[in-house]
């Protein structure tokens, strides 16, 4: 279960772990709706939204380097 679900106008905000939010997204998406979630784990984030009949997932990962 997501920890929190808030609806602001046409925007639904879900708070929970990525898996929880992903499951809620899978269960609750409605054509034309747009549900976005962002999770944070170290330098890695997850964003999910529903558009064009598909669940689109974006994962980020960081990269650093040093030069000598």
């Amino acid at each position: 279960m997501v920890v929190s679900k808030t609806k602001l106008g046409s925007v639904t905000i879900l708070i929970g772990t990525d898996g929880e939010v992903a499951q809620a997204l899978s269960n609750e998406h409605v054509p034309g709706s747009r549900i976005i979630s962002v999770g944070y784990n170290g330098s890695n984030t997850t964003a999910r939204y529903f558009a064009g009949g598909r669940n689109i997932v974006k994962k980020t990962i960081g990269s650093r380097a040093n030069i000598v």
């Binding site: 898996g19 992903a22 499951q23 997204l25 899978s26 170290g42 330098s43 890695n44 997850t46 598909r54 669940n55 689109i56 997932v57 974006k58 994962k59 980020t60 990962i61 960081g62 990269s63 650093r64 380097a65 040093n66 030069i67 000598v68």
Partner: protein
């Protein structure tokens, strides 16, 4: 259920793998390397970074994988090249890469640029991985010593 995503990094051979939490580039072949411990010497190349996107648990289909550098500018003399379409493992090298030969996209490509099963239109219907994503940093002698700007890479996929 939905798919569970994870990065897999390939090291000394095709079964020597690790789970990276970053894609730090440097002068050693290791996941999650410390950049200050393994800096890149100006005028040389980093070790190639060979990773795959792995998908497990329950899903109907994964496809349309896209990869790009979404944040972090280069410093003078620094560039990163890549490929997202390598199907067979080859040991990573610090020589100029034969595979990571194209500049990393700096914006959402809009269409798949990471292959699955050797095809950009490929898909997964059960647990499996993308083909290899290979990255390599090049640093010319024009680069100044020190930390470069942190980069953020985004990997996007469609889940049905």
């Amino acid at each position: 259920m939905v798919a569970t995503f994870g990065w897999v990094e390939y090291l000394t051979n095709a079964t020597d793998t690790a789970t990276p939490t970053n894609l730090n580039m440097g002068s050693t072949l290791a996941a999650n390397l410390a950049p200050s411990t393994y800096p890149i010497t100006a005028g040389t190349y980093s070790y190639e970074k060979w990773v795959k996107a792995n998908f497990s648990d329950s899903f109907t289909r994964i496809d349309n994988i896209q990869f790009w550098k979404s944040a972090g500018g280069y410093v003078t003399g620094e560039t990163m090249k890549w490929t997202g379409e390598q199907t067979a493992y080859v040991a990573p090298t610090t020589a100029i890469s034969s595979y990571a030969a194209t500049a990393v996209p700096t914006a959402d490509p809009g269409t798949a640029n990471v292959s699955i099963g050797g095809s950009l239109s490929g898909s997964l219907t059960t647990t499996g991985s993308s083909d290899f994503i290979i990255l390599q940093t090049s640093v010319t002698t024009a680069a100044s010593a020190g930390a470069v700007n942190q980069k953020t890479f985004t990997l996007q996929y469609d889940e049905v």
